[in-house]
Structure formats: C-alpha cells, structure tokens
C-alpha cells in the first residue's frame, strides 16, 4: 500500500516531540482529536486548553501546535485512504515513531475507524442543506371566496440550513391540497426508485 505519510522535515521534528510525551497522556490526546476529526470548522482545543497542554506535556507553543497538527494530519490521511490498523502501524514505525506510540495510534484507530469514516462520508458540502421536516394537516372549512368547504390542506415546513450561517435555519413553507400532495409523493417515489437502482 502506498505510503500515506512521507517523512518530511516537519514530520521528523513532530515525531521527535511526540516520542517525548508520556504514553497515557498521548492516548488521551489521540482520542480527543479523533472525536472531533469529522467536524470541519471546530478547533479541537480551545486557547486555554492549549495552554494547559503546553505545561502538561512540557512543550512550548510551537512544538505543541506541530504535534497537534501532525497527529491530526496522520489521522486524516488514515481516513482518506481508509487504511487498516496493521498497515497504519507499519507506516508509523517507518517514520520512526516509537513502537508504543504506534501501538497507541493503532488501538485508537481500530476503536473508532468505521464510525469516523462513515461520519466523514455523510458530510455533504452544499450551499444549502435540508435539515428539518415538519408538517401540519388542516381542514379548511371556509374562506372569503368560498363557504362550506371541507378541504384537507397540508403545510410542509422545510428547515434549510445555509452552509455559512451555522445557527440560522431558513424555513420554507409549502402548502399542498390533496391532489398536489399526491403528485409530490409520486415524484418522491421516482427519486426513491433511482436510489434503489444504485445499490
């Protein structure tokens, strides 16, 4: 399998720093990074957490960020190529990571690998994404132009989130009569048929 990590100068420096870290502290660091790996925007550690880490691991600011970035990079490459744990271990030993650290990587990876890959796979980037579906069924009894109706009407509320505005969900309201809803459903069935033909 092609090497997923090439031994560049910065990798060498990072590896040297990683090898100095205590094993259990490093394992905890690994699991924390893995948890947040599939989230694009968020920083794994806040400013204060990074400062605490600096003293806990006895690394200065530059070395710490090198260690964090490199660890994240290795994990991202592992996700990208979907490497097996054994293969990952080999590659890590090749870049001169100490055997115990390589083992720690391996174990952490085995534990979460399928979940992380699945989460990353589900990530779509599109300007707008459908997040929420709500609906209301009403029985229209009358209106200004017609009396004595008994017309069922449905209102669909689609919550669409914009990619850049994390908190704002745009609500799209669409009203359907029985006939219109039936038409819409038939179109959805066609989409489903297409999805089924893919598997």
């Amino acid at each position: 399998m092609a090497a997923i990590i090439t031994e560049t100068q910065s990798i060498k420096e990072a590896v040297t720093s990683i090898n100095t870290i205590e094993l259990n502290k490093f394992s905890r660091l690994l699991s924390r990074i893995l948890q947040k790996l599939h989230l694009k925007e968020e920083r794994t550690f806040s400013e204060e957490e990074e400062q605490k880490l600096q003293s806990a691991l006895s690394l200065d600011k530059q070395d710490l960020s090198l260690v964090l970035d490199t660890t994240a990079f290795i994990l991202e490459q592992a996700v990208y190529h979907n490497v097996k744990p054994a293969s990952l271990k080999q590659q890590l030993e090749k870049i001169h990571l100490s055997p115990e650290k390589a083992e720690a990587f391996c174990q952490a990876w085995t534990a979460v690998c399928p979940d992380v890959v699945e989460k990353v796979r589900q990530r779509i980037f599109a300007p707008k994404k459908l997040e929420h579906v709500g609906w209301q069924l009403n029985l229209q009894m009358a209106k200004s132009t017609q009396a004595k109706l008994k017309d069922p009407h449905a209102v669909l509320e689609l919550g669409v989130r914009n990619e850049d505005s994390q908190s704002v969900v745009e609500k799209v309201f669409v009203e359907f009569s029985h006939q219109e809803l039936l038409q819409f459903y038939n179109q959805l069935e066609t989409v489903q048929a297409q999805l089924d033909s893919l598997t």
């Binding site: 991202e76 996700v79 990208y80 190529h81 979907n82 890959v117 990353v120 796979r121 589900q122 990530r123 779509i124 599109a126 300007p127 707008k128 994404k129 459908l130 997040e131 579906v133 609906w135 069924l137 029985l139 209106k143 200004s144 132009t145 017609q146 009396a147 004595k148 008994k150 069922p152 449905a154 209102v155 669909l156 689609l158 669409v160 799209v172 309201f173 669409v174 009203e175 359907f176 009569s177 029985h178 219109e180 809803l181 039936l182 819409f184 459903y185 179109q187 959805l188 069935e189 989409v191 489903q192 297409q194 999805l195 893919l198």
Partner: protein
C-alpha cells in the same frame, strides 16, 4: 286566531335570504336602478361582470359600455357594483346548500325584475359554474404552493477527505407560486424522513375524508 298563527308560521319558515340577515347596500341600490334598465344593456353589463369574476381583464368591455351614453355613469357604477356583489355571494355557497328556486325567491324579495332573475340564475347555476368555482378555489389566502419540482441524484465518488466515498445525495429545486426558488441538498436519511412524512400526511388525509365529520350535510 288561526289565520294570524298561520301568518306567523309562514313568516318564520322562510329564513333570511342567502345574502344574510342584512342585505348589502350595493345590492339594494342596484335593485332600484334595475327598474327601467333595458335588457340588452343589462346583459352586456352582466357579461362584463362575469368575466371580471373569472379574473379576465374587462376594461375594454366596460369602457365600451360606459361610452354608450344611454346609461349615466353613476347609475352604471351602482349596477356593476351590485351585480358583482350579488354574484360573488351566490357563487360562494355550494349548490348543495343554495337551490335555484330559493335563490330566485330571494331575488324576487328584492324586487328585481323577473327576466333579470332568470339571467342571474343562469350564471349561478348554469354550465359556467364550474369554471367560476375553479377561480374561487385558486384565490383566497394561501401559503405558496409548489409550482415546479426538480431533482437530481448524485453519487460522490471521491472528496478531499475520503478517497473512496461512494455516497449518494439528492439535490432538489423547488419553484414556489410566490416566485421564490429554493435549491438545496438532501442527505439520503433526510429524504427518507421526508418521504415517510408525506406518506403519513396522505394517509391521514384519506382517513379524514372517510370520517363522518365530512358527511355532515349543511
């Protein structure tokens, strides 16, 4: 004694007119104005008012009628307003509730000349009725409805985070009746949720339409 009882009984059995307890003023005024209106003119005005209710542009027809000096403008405006209101109110009530005879009787009470009553009745109960009802269904307050729905199924083969992704996703574009267009991506799981919910609403609609609430005649 018995005769006065009979009178009271007759008075009580006839409910208020289909126009309600109080006749709208424009209809009362129109009724007076119709007295010596020539039927030819009446029919022309009626035609223009009906096409206005259908939503068509009737400015030219009205202009042509107004230019005919036989009818002064003030009188014309009373007649048009009254006709429009009368027809709108009559069309609002479904034919199962308002029968032709009752309609005609109510118009006689307003002292509208008999030939005009026949003309009104032919609009309300004639074969133009379904077209007029369709227009009424479309009008009235509504949230935007779906005018155009397009979709696309994509499969992401590879992304910057995953060399072999093979993840399907759906892109939907909805054009609504208020002119707005919405384009958004739908993850497969959300699509299933949408499909399930739409099916659920349809089932509830079917149940609702079968229930006895709807078979109450009014």
């Amino acid at each position: 004694m018995s005769s006065s009882h009979a009178k009271v009984a007759v008075g009580a059995s006839k409910d208020s007119s289909f126009l309600g307890g109080r006749i709208p003023s424009e209809i009362e005024i129109m009724a007076k104005q119709l007295k010596d209106l020539d039927q030819e003119m009446f029919r022309k005005i009626l035609k223009a008012v009906v096409s206005a209710i259908e939503g068509k542009d009737c400015r030219d027809a009205m202009k042509a009628i107004a230019e005919n000096a036989a009818v002064p403008e003030e009188r014309l405006s009373y007649v048009v307003a009254g006709m429009y209101r009368l027809l709108k109110e009559a069309l609002r009530i479904p034919t199962s509730s308002l029968k032709q005879e009752v309609f005609k009787e109510d118009l006689r009470e307003l002292r509208i000349p008999e030939e005009f009553i026949t003309d009104f009745a032919s609009v309300v109960f004639g074969n133009r009725r379904t077209a007029l009802e369709a227009v009424a269904t479309q009008q009235g307050p509504r949230l935007p409805s779906l005018k155009d729905f397009r979709w696309r199924v994509d499969v992401a083969i590879s992304t910057s985070s995953l060399a072999r992704a093979l993840q399907p996703s759906i892109l939907m574009q909805m054009k609504l009746s208020d002119g707005k267009a919405h384009r958004f991506e739908v993850p497969v799981s959300k699509f299933q949720e949408l499909r399930y919910n739409v099916a659920l609403i349809l089932k509830e609609m079917n149940d609702l339409e079968k229930r006895s609430v709807l078979s109450i005649q009014d």
